[in-house]
Structures are given as C-alpha cells and as structure tokens.
C-alpha cells in the first residue's frame, strides 16, 4: 500500500548539511501495525514527518496506493498523525477537537456530529465530550488525540511516540487499547518508538533504524531470534558478544569447537563475532553439540522471575546468563565460583564484524 523508495532527507546545505535519512526503502502492507524503532536521532521521526508531509524529502519517492505523494501538502494526504505532545487545540472542547478534520473538509453538520459520537464512543470519551481539552489528564488527552486522528478515516495513522508521556501502568493499558483499536478498525498504523518492548509486543513488523539507515525489517520474533547485525542484536533484548574463529565449517571460542549453525555460511574464514542471548547460556554441560567453557562468577542480580549471573570468560570477555528461579533450592552459583558454561550450537548467531 505504501512504498517508500530511496527516501533521503538532508537538513541544511553545503558543508553543514546533515543527512537524517539515507535512501530508506520499505513497503508497508494494508492493515499492518508497522513500527519504526531506534534510538533518538536515528531518523525515525524524520521518516514519519516525511510520510505526514510536514517536511519535503530531499530525494526518493513516497508512493501511496500507486500515487507519489512525496511533495503533496499535508492537508491533502489521507494520512493523520497522533503527536507526541498530542497537540490538542486548547480552546476547543473534546468534541470540537474530534470534529476538526471533518469540518475543515466541509462535511455536512449531521455527518460531523455522527462521526464525532462514533469516535468518542470508540475511545470511551463520550462522557467528557464538552470538556475543554486543556482540562484533561494525560491518558484522556491521548484518547482524544487518537479519536481526532481517526475521525477523518485516514488510509494510514501515524503515531509519534504517543505513549512516552504516560506513566508505566497507563502505558501498558494504552498499548492494549491501541492494538485493539488497530484490529477493530483494520487501519494501517505506523508507530514510532524508542522502546523495544513496546515495539515487540504491539507490532506486526518492525523496522530498526540507526544513524538514518535501516538496519533490519522483520517480525518481532525474527528480529529477536535472527538479528542481522550487532546493532540490532544489542538494541533488541540483551546479548552476549563473543570473539570467535571460523574455520572449515566450524566455529571455535577459546579452544572449544562446534559446527557452524545452519544458514550462517560466511564466505571467509577468520575472526567473527558470535552472539548468544543470556537466557540461552546454560550453566553446566549442556547438549552434546554445545561449546563448553569455564567462567568465573562476578555478580548475581536477582530479578524475581530470574537471576542474571554476570561472569567473565578466561580471556576477560564479559558474559551474562539468565537463569529462571526455581520454587525451591538454594543459590544457583556463588560469587567467585568457577562454573562450567555451555552455548548450545543452535543458539549461536554469527554477526558480520562491522561496528565494534
């Protein structure tokens, strides 16, 4: 439905120019909950603003339903935004805010009133319809902002970190609420966030961005299980990075070898980076195809459901294992212990050795 082709954005001119987006290309399907994820300054908000039309791109195309809308002004695009600050009109009531777009389009009064009622019901704000928007709580403003953006029935709803101003409990509630709304309306959502957990729990697909470049586009599960590079692996979840040698279809870490995991036939032999998630590190012998090493326990951090064991390998590489806490039984290990650790072969991921 939306095809983004080689979209580029530069701010400033000449020597002081800053490139916020480097030839980003991606396609978003109808009805998808698509998330742009990355640290601040990665270009995700710039991309959103280009889609909304608040900034013109420096190059590339934005094709919506077969039509290039890259240079179309924002008030002509069938795309609406939920702003991070909500940007509700403070001098208008809740109902007037929700009806704004339809009135601006010159729709008949009866239709405006009907849609406003429907939208207020959808976000459960009917009882506050005549309240001034400035007199609402954060969560309520959030709902009004959503209803206002949904009222004109856009082809795509853009959400710019809409939950970042809410407290933890409200944020969780709104996550569920947003997902419900998206499924009920069947609308395409493009969601911007820097919160990986938010992205993993809500999205159909996630585009991870860094430094104005796309790093990987995948489903949450794929992104976590098969990160394509070190940035994605460290940004999504926690990871251990280990220096390894690749030789003749085998990988070797500190003298212990195992067969190369399938799908990782790198072209050359030599040093590689191997990634393993803390929950996949086994304390003990592990399966027969595991890489087996010895590590020294430095610190134990108790998290309720599990314990993080911070260790060091013999060469000084830090290693974290995450072990679920049993109902009974004592400590898993003690600080200062030398313990056997195992990396099952199918939990190892080879990453291209770029970006240290």
């Amino acid at each position: 439905m939306l095809d983004i082709r080689d979209l580029t954005k530069q701010f400033g001119k000449g020597d002081s120019a800053v490139t916020a987006l480097h030839q980003v290309s991606l396609s978003i399907a109808e009805g998808e909950f698509f998330t742009l994820l990355g640290p601040s300054g990665c270009g995700k908000t710039t991309l959103l603003r280009l889609i909304a039309g608040f900034e013109p791109p420096s190059g590339g195309a934005l094709v919506l339903d077969g039509k290039d809308i890259a240079l179309m002004p924002p008030n002509q695009r069938p795309v609406n935004t939920v702003f991070q600050s909500y940007a509700l009109f403070p001098h208008m009531t809740v109902a007037q805010n929700v009806g704004f777009a339809l009135e601006a389009q010159g729709r008949p009064k009866a239709e405006v009133a009907r849609v406003v009622e429907k939208m207020l019901a959808l976000v459960q704000m009917t009882h506050l319809r005549d309240r001034k928007s400035a007199a609402l709580s954060g969560g309520q403003q959030q709902r009004v902002a959503l209803a206002r953006a949904l009222a004109p029935q856009p082809r795509i709803l853009l959400l710019d970190e809409p939950l970042s101003a809410l407290d933890m409990k409200l944020r969780k509630e709104m996550q569920v609420e947003l997902k419900r709304l998206q499924q009920e309306t069947g609308l395409t959502f493009i969601f911007v966030t820097h919160d990986q957990e938010e992205a993993l729990t809500m999205s159909d697909r996630i585009a991870v961005m860094n430094g104005g470049r796309l790093q990987q586009i995948a489903s949450p599960r794929e992104l976590y299980d098969l990160p394509e590079n070190r940035f994605v692996a460290s940004f999504i979840g926690e990871s251990n990075f280990l220096m390894a040698q690749k030789l003749a279809g085998m990988i070797e870490i500190e003298g212990s070898k195992t067969a190369l995991p399938s799908g990782f036939a790198a072209a050359y032999d030599g040093p590689v980076i191997v990634m393993i998630r803390p929950e996949h590190v086994v304390l003990g012998q592990g399966p027969s195809d595991a890489i087996r090493l010895t590590a020294q326990v430095e610190r134990l951090v108790y998290f309720g459901t599990d314990t993080h064991i911070h260790m060091r390998l013999r060469d000084g590489t830090p290693l974290v294992a995450r072990v679920q806490n049993a109902l009974r039984g004592g400590a898993i290990a003690k600080v200062g212990d030398s313990v056997p650790v195992a990396f099952p072969q199918d939990a190892l991921r080879l990453l291209p050795d770029t970006e240290a």
Binding site: F54, P74, S85, A87, P90, H91, A101, A104, A134, P152
Partner: protein, 267 residues
C-alpha cells in the same frame, strides 16, 4: 525539593521602601483626583465635596469635542496599528526564515527608540507641505502619526503570544486537512486573540495620552484631550481641569486593567 527561591520580604526595610515608593508614585494622582471633587472655585482652597466640576466638564462643548476627537483618533490609530503589528508578528515568527527578518523587528520597534520630538519635527516639516499641496486638514495626519508610534506597543504582546504558542498545533491543523487560511481562522487567531486585545488596548492608551505628536501636527481648530488640557492650563486654572484629568485617568486605568485581565486569562 530544592531550596525555595530567595524571599525578598525577609530583607530588612523592604516594606518601608515599597510603601515609600507607592506613596511617591501615587500621592500626586490622589491629590489630583481629590481636588476634582472640590466644591470651591479656587485651587488649593477646600470647600467641601461636590461633583460640580464633573457636571461643568460634561457641559463644556470644547472639552466634549476634544474628547470625541481623542477617542476617535485613539480607536482608529490603535486599530490600524494592531492589524499592522499582527501581520508583522506573524511574518517574523511564522514565515520561513528570510533575509532581513531581524531588520524588520528593529524597524517595527524603531519608534520606541527615536525621540518622539525628532519624529514630530520631521513629520511637521513634511506634513506642512502636504497640507498645503492637498488642502486636506482633517484627522488623517494625526491618525497616521499615532499609528506609527502605536505599532511597537501593539507588536510586543502579540509577538510574545505567538512565540509562546505551540507550533505543533498549527502542524496538527494542517495534518487534519485544514488549509492555511482555515488554520489561521480556527486555530492561530483564537489562540492569539488575548495578545491582540492586549496590544490594541496598549496602543489605545498610548495614543490617548500623546501630547507631543498631536500638538505638532494638529491642524488649526483641532484639539485632542491632552492638547486641550495643555491649552486650558495656560489660560484658566480651575478645578474643572482636575475633573477632566481624572476622567482621562479613569479611561486609561480601565483599559490597562482590561488588557491585564485579557492576557492573564488562559495565558
């Protein structure tokens, strides 16, 4: 919580100093207003409370004519100045950066910095020629002159209000299918209204009490309230002047209070 801000009331002598300042500032006005209620004819000689001089003033044709001129002049000058100042403020805060934006800011505020008498003399020389050439001797010259020095007073609160406004509101309106004009009418203007009102009232008061410009540029027979009062002071000093001054003060106070209330609410 961090330590509370420095509490000025704890300083020794602050209350005395403050009261002293208020007395010095307001005693003359209190005396003026008090004298306006004096029943006697001779200034400084108290003969009891009376509204006599107010009644006399309201029957004074010359005063009423001057008051009418002043109110008309202040209304028109403030109106034109406010419209111009609103446009200038929008151009300096909302338009994409353009060359000379800073210069515009400076030019708009220039009447605040140029001595009024210099501007008045300059205008006198030019307008005398214009009057002779066109034969027109109406209120237009005063309206134009008052408008120039009213603009910066109208400009300041309007610009302050625009700068304080959340830009994302206008972006949101554009996102919600509003044209630029619709956005201005439904979002920018309603939010700007208190600033515009404050600007108008400030400009109105400034025009209402101007002496220098009016005295230099008025055509024969024209009087504004301040120039009329000046003339009266030279001729006959009766308590009627106190009554008229008190009325002028009342109008100014009402307008300044109104402007303060307008900017304070939902600021």
């Amino acid at each position: 919580m961090a330590e509370r801000a420095f509490n000025i009331r704890r300083l020794p002598g602050v209350a005395t100093l403050a009261i002293g300042c208020f007395v010095i500032l307001y005693i003359p006005m209190v005396i003026l207003v008090g004298n306006s209620f004096n029943a006697g004819k001779v200034i400084g000689h108290w003969e009891g409370v009376s509204l006599h001089w107010y009644v006399a003033a309201l029957h004074n044709e010359a005063f009423l004519a001057a008051a009418q001129t002043s109110l008309l002049l202040a209304t028109l000058a403030a109106l034109i100045a406010t419209i111009t100042a609103t446009m200038a403020a929008l151009a300096t805060t909302r338009a994409a950066d353009f060359r000379g934006q800073g210069a515009i800011h400076l030019i708009v505020n220039q009447p605040l910095m140029v001595p009024e008498i210099v501007l008045a003399i300059a205008l006198l020389i030019i307008l005398a020629q214009v009057k002779q050439a066109t034969g027109y001797t109406g209120l237009g010259y005063l309206i134009a002159a008052h408008t120039t020095f009213c603009i910066p007073f109208a400009y300041m609160p309007i610009r302050a209000r625009l700068e304080g406004m959340d830009l994302s509101l206008e972006t949101a309106a554009a996102d919600l299918y509003a044209s630029r004009f619709y956005t201005f009418r439904r979002v920018t203007l309603p939010l700007l209204a208190p600033g515009i009102l404050a600007g108008f009232m400030l400009a109105f008061v400034v025009s209402l009490d101007d002496v220098v410009m009016s005295d230099f540029l008025k055509s024969p027979g024209q009087e504004t309230l301040p120039t009329y009062l000046m003339g009266e002071l030279r001729r006959n000093l009766t308590s009627e002047i106190y009554a008229i001054s008190s009325l002028l003060l009342l109008i100014s106070v009402l307008i300044v209070a109104g402007s303060w209330a307008a900017t304070r609410k939902k600021a």
